[in-house]
């Protein structure tokens, strides 16, 4: 016969209970696993194909039926790297993305700080107004911006893109920094105040260290959005300040055997951002839905 101890085992960790919880009823596990994997692989297939093609020779790339097994080669990547205009465009992408991120953070952080810690009745309205500027279609500003850039001689310049990217992403950055500042419990700031901290010391010793994570993820999101930006990149710049988006768009009319190289170029262009994206899922949801989904 079981002892009392055996009949009522002491729960040594909460996970003991968790394991015994019945699974949710949406399809049995095996079916779900198979379904999820199939769908995921199907959806990922085009990217996977891009990845494979980058390592093929041009002949292999256009072979009919399409090749799945082949000996990989790095020749495409070598070619891409040695093309100076690829490097130029990549540089431009990097400059515009980083530039707009840093500029954006510099403008957004003080504003978000002010809204989080010096809240007034108007704060909410200001924040909503900022978000609404993001919702205006870019095409509505295309002509004026184009004309202004033309007049200022800034067409095909990196600066124009940096300004446009910064302003496009500013509302999202303010919003995300605002929420990360608000995540700091106000009592901690009150404690700092009681400990004798001035406003600046409060910021430097308490707010800043605690919001570094938020700033990083905001910056990451801005980087992703700027890098992938396609509307202004295609309209405001051309050869000199073109970004990778511009370069890749210029291949829209086929020029013979070039798919493998195009795949390699594309892969290089998207790989870092896709990987960043994997790490910034949560920020993406928060940033792009303006916090409407928790």
């Amino acid at each position: 016969m079981n002892t009392v101890a055996q009949q009522n085992p002491v729960v040594s960790s909460p996970t003991q209970f968790a394991v015994q919880k019945p699974p949710s009823q949406f399809l049995p596990v095996a079916l779900r696993t198979a379904g999820a994997w199939i769908v995921a692989l199907l959806l990922f297939f085009p990217l996977g194909w891009l990845f494979l093609t980058a390592f093929k020779t041009e002949q292999q790339a256009i072979s009919v039926p399409p090749l799945f097994l082949f000996a990989p080669t790095l020749e495409n990547f070598h070619e891409v790297n040695s093309r100076s205009d690829y490097l130029l465009h990549a540089m431009n992408s990097l400059i515009t993305s980083l530039g707009s991120t840093i500029l954006g953070l510099a403008i957004a952080a003080p504003a978000a700080y002010s809204m989080a810690f010096f809240r007034t009745k108007k704060t909410r309205d200001i924040l909503l107004w900022m978000l609404s500027t993001k919702m205006m279609p870019a095409v509505g500003a295309l002509l004026p911006i184009y004309v202004m850039a033309q007049t200022a001689g800034m067409l095909d310049s990196v600066s124009a893109l940096i300004i446009v990217f910064t302003l496009s992403n500013l509302p999202i950055m303010v919003w995300m920094l605002y929420t990360s500042y608000k995540d700091i419990p106000p009592e901690i700031l009150e404690a700092a105040r009681m400990d004798g901290a001035t406003l600046w010391k409060e910021f430097r010793h308490v707010v800043l260290p605690l919001s570094v994570g938020g700033m990083a993820s905001t910056g990451l999101l801005c980087l992703v959005l700027s890098w992938n930006e396609a509307f202004w990149s295609l309209n405001l710049v051309a050869a000199k300040a073109g970004t990778l988006a511009t370069l890749i768009a210029s291949y829209s009319s086929p020029e013979g055997l070039f798919w493998a190289k195009l795949s390699a170029a594309s892969l290089l262009a998207i790989a870092p951002i896709v990987i960043f994206g994997w790490f910034s899922q949560k920020q993406l949801v928060q940033g792009l839905t303006f916090g409407a989904v928790k």
Partner: protein, 292 residues
């Protein structure tokens, strides 16, 4: 939230907010005013200096452009289809992935990847790799079943664009719904199970209402971003054949940077702005409810 409120510190918050508010204000107002101004004058970039007042001529010209109504229709079809596909599939995928199973982390990573691909790459990827009638993967698939491959971009331009864009935005919807499903109250589900409900009932009475809000958000956000679909059309079909895959954004672009008719294009842009305003009004209200 307590804060010292001497007049000294009332200046500081305003100074901190000034750059952001100032620049955004300019960003919003200046183009808007200029667009309104341009829409009321005759202005063609090829004939600078000739800016005569045109009244509502630009608007009439824009609307009576033979491409106008097709563009409106295409825009609606494009937005509607992508939203429909992404929301429905997004919810189903969200449910599929919500509960743990082996490899869930990797599946999630695979599912969200398309969203981070540059639209330009997205466009070319589909145009050359998938949809090319000779060498594309889809062509091969069709041939495997003994069917003639479809020339997607020529015969089904709008559908092709829809597929590309939906592929890119499905992860977004998925992610939103996955996030939202995580916050579904498990205890509520368990109570329902004890009350004797089956899986379908729980889905319709508990899950769907819970998802109503994120669905609304997804629909509205997508409406705003999908209105501006440009790169995919620009790179693949150039709005064609004819105007079969031209949407409002592309039409305005055509007018402005291909015909260089700033006046007419501005008139068109105002239409887009008004439409976006209507949608964003509701979105802002919904977001506002979420802010404390």
């Amino acid at each position: 939230m307590s804060s010292p409120s001497s007049s000294n510190t009332r200046l500081l918050p305003r100074a901190l907010m000034a750059p952001a508010i100032g620049t955004l204000f300019l960003w919003m107002i200046v183009p808007l005013c200029m667009t309104i101004y341009f829409s009321l004058v005759n202005y063609n970039l090829m004939q600078p200096g000739e800016k005569t007042f045109a009244g509502l001529d630009n608007f009439t010209y824009f609307i009576t452009d033979p491409d106008f109504w097709p563009a409106v229709w295409n825009t609606l079809v494009l937005i509607g289809s992508v939203i429909g596909i992404t929301v429905v599939l997004g919810v189903l995928l969200g449910l599929l992935v919500n509960d743990p199973f082996p490899g869930r982390g990797i599946v999630r990573v695979l599912l969200i990847s398309p969203f981070f691909v540059m639209p330009a790459v997205n466009a070319l990827l589909w145009k050359h790799m998938m949809m090319n009638p000779n060498y594309g993967v889809l062509a091969d698939l069709w041939r495997n079943f003994g069917l003639t491959p479809v020339d997607w971009l020529t015969d089904w331009p709008l559908l092709s664009v829809i597929i590309m864009v939906a592929w890119q935005w499905l992860p977004f919807a998925c992610l939103i719904f996955i996030t939202s499903l995580q916050s579904l109250d498990r205890e509520q589900m368990e109570a329902a199970r004890m009350d004797g409900s089956n899986a379908f009932q729980r889905f319709f009475y508990l899950t769907v209402p819970h998802l109503a809000r994120p669905m609304a958000v997804v629909i509205m956000i997508e409406m705003i971003f999908l209105l501006s679909i440009f790169a995919e059309i620009f790179i693949t079909t150039s709005g064609g054949p004819g105007n079969a895959s031209t949407n409002m954004t592309f039409l305005i672009y055509k007018q402005s940077l291909m015909n260089f008719d700033v006046g007419v294009a501005s008139a068109g842009a105002l239409f887009a702005v008004i439409f976006a305003n209507i949608v964003s009004f509701f979105l802002v209200r919904m977001v506002g409810k979420n802010l404390d």
